[in-house]
């Protein structure tokens, strides 16, 4: 490679020529004390909460966090060991912003958007504020589109919609992160931008996650924000807000669907507690500050399904060029109800016209916050807070995990409050009673353990239950397309697996999916396109399963 020195010189020359000799006016203060990522500063009398400051000597940035009578508490967004007593601090009159945009995709960055992956500087031209007000009621619309996780147990029983906040909660080492990573991997064909925020985790663990995402091709649409356990508490506290801002860019400015994983918010809460105690805010329950609920609620409220905007335009208008001013009657219809009204009434007055969606509207931000419990204690302070903020939770049980049921989802207490409305019709029709059947099975199973003789019907119900539990097991990083999930669960609920030994269910499933893809693609394609289980598709599926049964080869059979 040869460098063109004259080009580089010309850039530098033009910068020098256009340098503005303006007076540098700033408001300053002096560092009184510094430690644990926080500086107390005297001066800065007009500083505002959340305003950015700069430590003049080192160029390190900070954030005004605590306004006191005679001093200001500042979060240091960099190496706090470089700051010393007496250093000058200047206010920048701006809010904390992070770089956003396509340049961030595939990158691993820290809380303030600086690269950590050794792939060179990030050339983002756009920034967004880390703290941003959540969209109001008028700007939202109900969740109506599924976010496929690729995990059978979730997509069938606790479905997640785009724009929903679904909590993943469980003890340590129960597979919480795996669910989030599987969901990210499954977005490969779903056109969803993903942001994975790792808070207070071991760097080695995060490196594994990044490697998994890369190996599965997920870094092509994913941004990883890391604030590891080695970082100061302020950076861990801000990391989820920064990740959220990066996803918001795609939701607000590109109208795209996004997914944000916060792994995990209990560590962020601990970081915020540390921060608050250091700035001498009064401790409350479990020593958390009084505004710990707001800390999580304002983050998770930023998840939304934005209302689509519609206008009436001539029929031949290109959809990509439609904007708020394109409407022939000057009106913009916001959300599905407004649109339905317009179709019923206003459109009739404009023959030769159609209703078109304004480009880049209707984006969404789905949040998957993760909370780690201690000894299954879901009634602790932070878990109950986040449970009450989110639209449902996926609860992972250590007992199930160690019994080999993975993902170890406890279907009894896992719920999705809004996702059901976004579930595909095909999945809804076959998984409607799955949860109740499994709950009934768990009761029967407990009863059967007493050694009582069971009648044939009860034994049959038990056998079906055991197989359904096997069907819902799934390997790590192997998300399944919803059509495959529908076909497998259909076979299980209709009793096609009753004669398959329990330990062979996973093998049957593997061979069946392969068979359907290679030999009966028309059934799978019909499910993918129609997204519902019509009578014809159901009949075709049934006959396909019957055709597969004799072809199934048990492991070890010749």
């Amino acid at each position: 490679m040869r460098f063109k020195a004259d080009e580089i010189v010309s850039v530098l020359q033009s910068e020098i020529q256009h340098y503005e000799k303006k007076l540098d006016v700033r408001e300053v203060g002096r560092v009184l004390e510094v430690g644990d990522g926080i500086a107390r500063v005297y001066g800065l009398a007009n500083a505002m909460n959340g305003e950015m400051v700069e430590f003049s000597r080192t160029g390190t940035r900070g954030l005004v966090f605590n306004l006191e009578e005679n001093s200001v508490g500042i979060i240091i967004l960099g190496n706090h060991l470089e700051i010393v007593e007496g250093d000058e601090v200047r206010s920048l009159g701006a809010l904390l912003e992070v770089p956003v945009g396509d340049a961030m995709i595939g990158r691993v960055v820290n809380t303030i958007g600086q690269p950590l992956d050794g792939k060179g500087p990030i050339t983002a031209t756009t920034t967004r504020p880390v703290e941003f007000t959540a969209p109001g009621v008028a700007a939202r619309q109900p969740v109506n589109q599924p976010l496929q996780t690729g995990i059978k147990a979730i997509d069938s029983m606790t479905p997640i919609g785009r724009g929903q906040r679904e909590l993943i909660i469980g003890d340590r080492k129960t597979g919480k992160t795996v669910i989030a990573i599987d969901t990210i991997i499954n977005q490969k064909t779903e056109n969803v931008i993903c942001v994975y925020v790792a808070i207070g985790q071991k760097e080695s663990q995060v490196a594994n996650v990044v490697e998994t995402l890369r190996a599965n091709g997920a870094m092509d649409y994913t941004i990883v924000v890391i604030s590891s356990a080695a970082e100061a508490a302020p950076l861990q506290y801000l990391a989820p807000y920064a990740g959220c801002a990066m996803a918001e860019y795609y939701m607000y400015e590109q109208g795209r669907d996004t997914l944000c994983v916060y792994d995990d918010l209990s560590k962020q809460a601990a970081a915020y507690r540390q921060l608050s105690l250091l700035v001498r805010r009064p401790p409350g329950r479990e020593a958390y500050p009084g505004d710990i609920f707001f800390c999580h609620s304002r983050l998770l409220e930023r998840s939304a399904k934005l209302a689509e905007r519609w206008v009436i335009v001539p029929s031949d208008t290109d959809a990509a060029n439609v904007n708020d001013k394109s409407g022939v009657n000057g009106k913009v219809y916001v959300g599905p109800f407004d649109k339905a009204n317009a179709e019923k009434n206003d459109l009739k007055n404009h023959p030769g016209h159609k209703i078109a969606k304004v480009a880049k509207t209707g984006g969404s931000l789905t949040a998957l916050p993760i909370i780690e419990t201690l000894e299954g204690e879901v009634s602790a302070y932070i878990p109950t807070n986040v449970i009450s903020i989110t639209d449902g939770q996926i609860y992972l049980q250590p007992d199930l995990f160690y019994a080999g049921v993975r993902p170890a989802i406890d279907v009894g207490i896992s719920v999705s409050r809004v996702g059901g409305k976004a579930q595909t019709a095909a999945m809804k029709s076959i998984a409607g009673s799955l949860r109740l059947d499994l709950a009934a099975f768990r009761e029967l199973e407990a009863f059967a353990q007493l050694g009582t003789d069971l009648d044939k019907a009860t034994q049959g119900q038990l056998d079906r239950g055991y197989r359904m539990v096997e069907v819902l097991k799934q390997g790590q990083f192997k998300p399944l397309h919803f059509a495959d999930q529908v076909m497998i669960i259909y076979a299980g609920t209709k009793g096609y697996l009753d004669k398959i030994p329990r330990n062979q269910v996973l093998e049957w499933e593997r061979q069946f999916v392969l068979f359907m893809r290679e030999q009966k693609p028309e059934v799978r394609n019909a499910l993918v396109t129609e997204r519902k289980l019509s009578k014809e598709t159901e009949a075709a599926l049934r006959s396909a399963i019957e055709a597969f049964q004799p072809q199934y080869k048990a492991p070890g059979a010749k």
Partner: protein, 206 residues
């Protein structure tokens, strides 16, 4: 001269100092002895405490008990200091607050300036400025703030040239050093962005 570093004293001490300073100034105003009290407090710190550290520790420190200090203060200041300032020292001693004397001095000067509608203007330059420049600056400050400016000059050769003015927390910086720093930061930021966003322009594969 009040050292700028006195501004960075403990903030809770400063709050207390503000209260004592207001009380002292009120008492001095009532006795028409403001100028004398200001001179005395400056002299106690600059000429006594700073020049003779041991004496300073005896009067302002905690090495000697309250009674011992009271005797020392009475002996040293009863006939030399004004009545207001002498009584003030005894009050501070009774309340074990003599260690706050430096922040009190700072607060006293600030409060006095404020009541007299005066504004302390710190001016930093690489070389000593002539009186004409100082007068022009003072006039400009007076026109903007409508307060009587009190100029405190500082010479710092590291500024290289130009002038920097600090009024309370606000800094107006026109020094050569800051301009060079800004130019350097701008060059690094913009040029690296330019180079990153158009790599083909600056290098070829040959």
């Amino acid at each position: 001269m009040i050292e700028p570093k006195e501004q960075f004293a403990d903030v809770s001490a400063q709050r207390l100092a503000g209260i004592y300073a207001a009380a002292l100034l009120n008492a001095a105003e009532a006795n028409h002895s403001v100028a004398r009290v200001l001179e005395e407090i400056d002299s106690l710190i600059d000429d006594v405490a700073d020049k003779n550290r041991q004496l300073g520790a005896l009067i302002l420190g905690g090495a000697v008990g309250r009674k011992g200090r009271k005797a020392a203060i009475t002996k040293a200041f009863s006939s030399r200091a004004s009545e207001t300032f002498f009584k003030f020292l005894l009050v501070l001693n009774d309340h074990e607050r003599l260690d706050l004397l430096r922040p009190i001095r700072r607060a006293l000067h600030d409060l006095h300036d404020e009541r007299a509608r005066r504004l302390r203007v710190h001016m930093f330059s690489a070389v000593p400025l002539d009186d004409d420049v100082k007068t022009r600056i003072l006039k400009a400050v007076h026109d903007i703030f409508q307060l009587e400016p009190v100029l405190v000059s500082h010479v710092d050769p590291a500024l290289l040239g130009g002038l920097m003015i600090r009024i309370k927390d606000r800094v107006f910086d026109g020094t050569v050093r800051t301009r060079i720093d800004n130019l350097r930061n701008q060059l690094i930021a913009r040029s690296s962005h330019e180079i990153q966003s158009g790599r083909d322009r600056f290098s070829s594969a040959e």
